[in-house]
Amino acid sequence: MELVVSLAIGVLAGSGVWLLLRPRTFQVIIGLSLLSYAVNLFIFSTGGLRTGAAAILEKGQEGSLGQFADPLPQALVLTAIVIGFATTALLLVVLLAARGLTGTDHVDGRDRGR
């Protein structure tokens, strides 16, 4: 379980960083999205990972704090998702504006060799 989650975070973060360093704005925004997925998963996993656990309680089981995953990272990740979503949407608008104003989708607003 831990291995799968860490591999997933690693692959997402790695691809995100790679795309972030590419010269086209579209690649940058996809890279940022992948990176934010990786970060969200990472925050989520700090709450503790368990396999085969009941969603809330097993039938007939007494509830105790030890059986629940830490809810705080889940609250944090919700906030992070909302904020990340909003800022990515804003960035998308700026990308479109940049494309319209400069006539190219290069991050510097001009293509090399032109």
Binding site: L20, T25, V28, L32, L35, S36, V39, F42, I43, T46, L72, P73, L76, T79, A80, I83, G84, A86, T87, T88, L90, L91, V94, L95, A97, A98, L101, T102, V107, D108, G109
Partner: protein, 536 residues
């Protein structure tokens, strides 16, 4: 919660939030309503900041528990000398930039005023909060508004610079989140005070991971503070932004410095146990490199906005280097420098736009080329009898005076507060006579002096070029609304110079409290403990 004055601590966040929300509802059609709301909000903020500044100058710091949750579960706002100082700077700069925007910039695009209010809300929240994740949220509020403000007025240059600005800050926010979650995973708390208390008992095998998490978070702060090599985005973005937006953006880089001051000194200060002094060398080196890079950029700047943007780098570097030395007296001087440079940079950004208005496009680049190659224009000028003895327009003289004041403040020359602040930083470094002075102190002193020299050379060259050799082709038409805020900011610098004694005492007290965070811990944790007693 004893009296209504306790609730004043939350007001700097709530007032601009309500004003901004009301402005969104009013829309751009009812401009008079929006402007009135903005005026009420910014003036109220100045009043609040003065009241909070007065209330802060006591040994006991104030804790405001949001929703009255116990400090361990809820989020606290902490009101001490440092946050009161930062709130006051935001309020003054906010009022100045708001008034300056009324002349024409607020009509250059949609939603300037609501964005501006949310910007103030984010800044105030970031300076007040005592919780790491809440700090992230206020960072995002502040950044989201700043994206809009940086792009205000549109145009290719702004969109291109804004794109870099947004992408870099989004990555910084992700780093912040990684840091926050590592810290939470290890320590189980996000409250800064609680974290500082738990730092001492962290198991040895976890300590490295916790420090790594805090270091990742620190990188996010340092990107905001534009430390070398993470600050290449700053001069371009600030140079491209419209004047009032650039003035308020100039305090954004100080938020990064504030976060380093607050978090680093709290967790890694002298009382930090096994982690004390972690990363001090990086802060010091990074600060010095930023000063070097900023000074070079100031000298190389070919236009006034670039010059101002590069000066922000110098000021960030100076502050970080001073913090990295880890001496309370130096930090006190650095706080005075922070106040003085924030006011001066705000005034400079507002002033630049007025100066640029009367000049031809590309005049700066032409001036630099002329210096290098010579065009023979000088002879033409001399032969023209009309050009000799032309009266110097009064408005240009006023602008020139303001520019000279900014130059003195930024370069740190007497008689203004920039000099006093640099002196206050250097005096404790050189210490009492006869005591050995460590090499790092010499390097910092040299960096302070050389960066002052570079700023002075660059501003003199630009000043001579703007006002004397190529006077504005037409006298810039400047309204009172645009010149008054500059006057306000510079008058405050003069006030800071006249009242330097009390101001420095205040800053030193703030620095002492930062370097000995016992009172901070007791304040926040005591609030939790007393609540446990009263509500079992």
């Amino acid at each position: 919660m004893s009296g209504w004055t306790d609730h004043l601590v939350a007001a700097p966040i709530i007032v601009p939030m309500l004003a901004g929300a009301a402005m969104v509802l009013a829309g751009d059609r009812w401009r008079w309503l929006v402007v009135t709301l903005g005026l009420i909000s910014t003036v109220t903020l100045v009043g609040l900041a003065i009241a909070l500044l007065g209330m802060a100058d006591v040994a006991q710091l104030r804790i405001y528990r949001l929703g009255d949750w116990p400090a361990l579960f809820g989020i606290v706002l902490v009101h001490d000398r440092l946050s009161a100082l930062m709130l006051a700077l935001v309020a003054v700069l906010g009022l100045a930039a708001f008034v300056a925007s009324l002349a024409r910039w607020d009509r250059a695009g949609a939603h300037f005023h609501p964005l501006f209010q949310f910007q103030l809300m984010g800044l105030n929240g970031a300076f007040l909060t005592g919780d790491l994740f809440n700090l992230f949220v206020f960072f995002e509020v502040m950044l989201a508004a700043s994206y809009g403000l940086a792009l205000h007025g549109s145009g290719t240059a702004r969109v291109r610079a804004g794109l870099h600005y947004i992408v870099i800050n989004l990555v910084a926010s992700l780093l912040f989140l990684i840091g926050v979650s590592v810290v939470y995973g290890i320590s189980g708390t996000l409250s800064m005070a609680e974290l500082a208390a738990r730092m001492r008992d962290v198991a040895t095998e976890d300590r490295a991971l916790l420090e790594a998490g805090l270091a990742v978070m620190g990188i996010a702060f340092l990107i905001k503070a534009a430390v070398w090599p993470l600050g290449f985005w700053l001069p371009g973005t600030y140079a491209a932004a419209s004047a009032p937006a650039a003035a308020i953006l100039s305090i954004l880089s100080k938020v990064g410095v504030y976060a380093v001051l607050r978090v680093w000194l709290l967790l890694f200060g002298a009382e930090g146990g096994a982690s004390a002094g972690f990363g001090a060398a990086i802060l010091l080196t990074g600060g010095l490199l930023t000063i070097a890079f900023g000074s070079t950029a100031v000298l190389a700047a070919q236009s006034l906005p670039r010059l101002a943007g590069s000066s922000v780098l110098v000021s960030s570097g100076t502050l970080l280097a001073a913090v990295g030395l880890g001496q309370a007296a130096v930090t006190g001087g650095a706080l005075l420098y922070l106040a003085s440079s924030v006011l001066a940079l705000g005034a400079l950004f507002l002033l630049i736009e007025l100066l640029e208005r009367g000049r031809e496009v590309g005049a700066d680049v032409l001036a630099v080329t002329r210096e290098a190659f010579g065009t023979g224009e000088e002879e033409d000028d001399l032969e023209d009898p009309e050009a000799v003895g032309v009266a110097f327009p009064a408005m240009v003289a006023i602008l020139g005076l303001g520019f000279a004041a900014c130059a003195l403040l930024l370069a740190g020359l007497p008689p203004l507060s920039g000099f006093l602040a640099k002196f206050a930083m250097m005096a404790p470094l050189l210490g009492p006579a006869g005591a050995p002075i460590p090499a790092s102190s010499w390097v910092v002193v040299a960096a302070l002096l050389l960066s002052g020299l570079a700023t002075l050379v660059a501003m003199l060259r630009t000043g001579i070029d703007v006002f004397w050799t190529s006077p504005p082709s037409a006298v810039p038409r400047v309204s009172l609304l645009e010149i008054a805020p500059i006057g306000l900011l510079l008058a405050l610098c003069v006030a800071l110079t006249v009242a330097a004694g009390p101001a420095l005492d205040y800053m030193l007290a703030a620095a002492e409290a930062l370097h000995a965070p016992g009172a901070y811990l007791d304040g926040v944790m005591g609030a939790a403990a007393s609540l446990r007693e009263t509500k079992p």
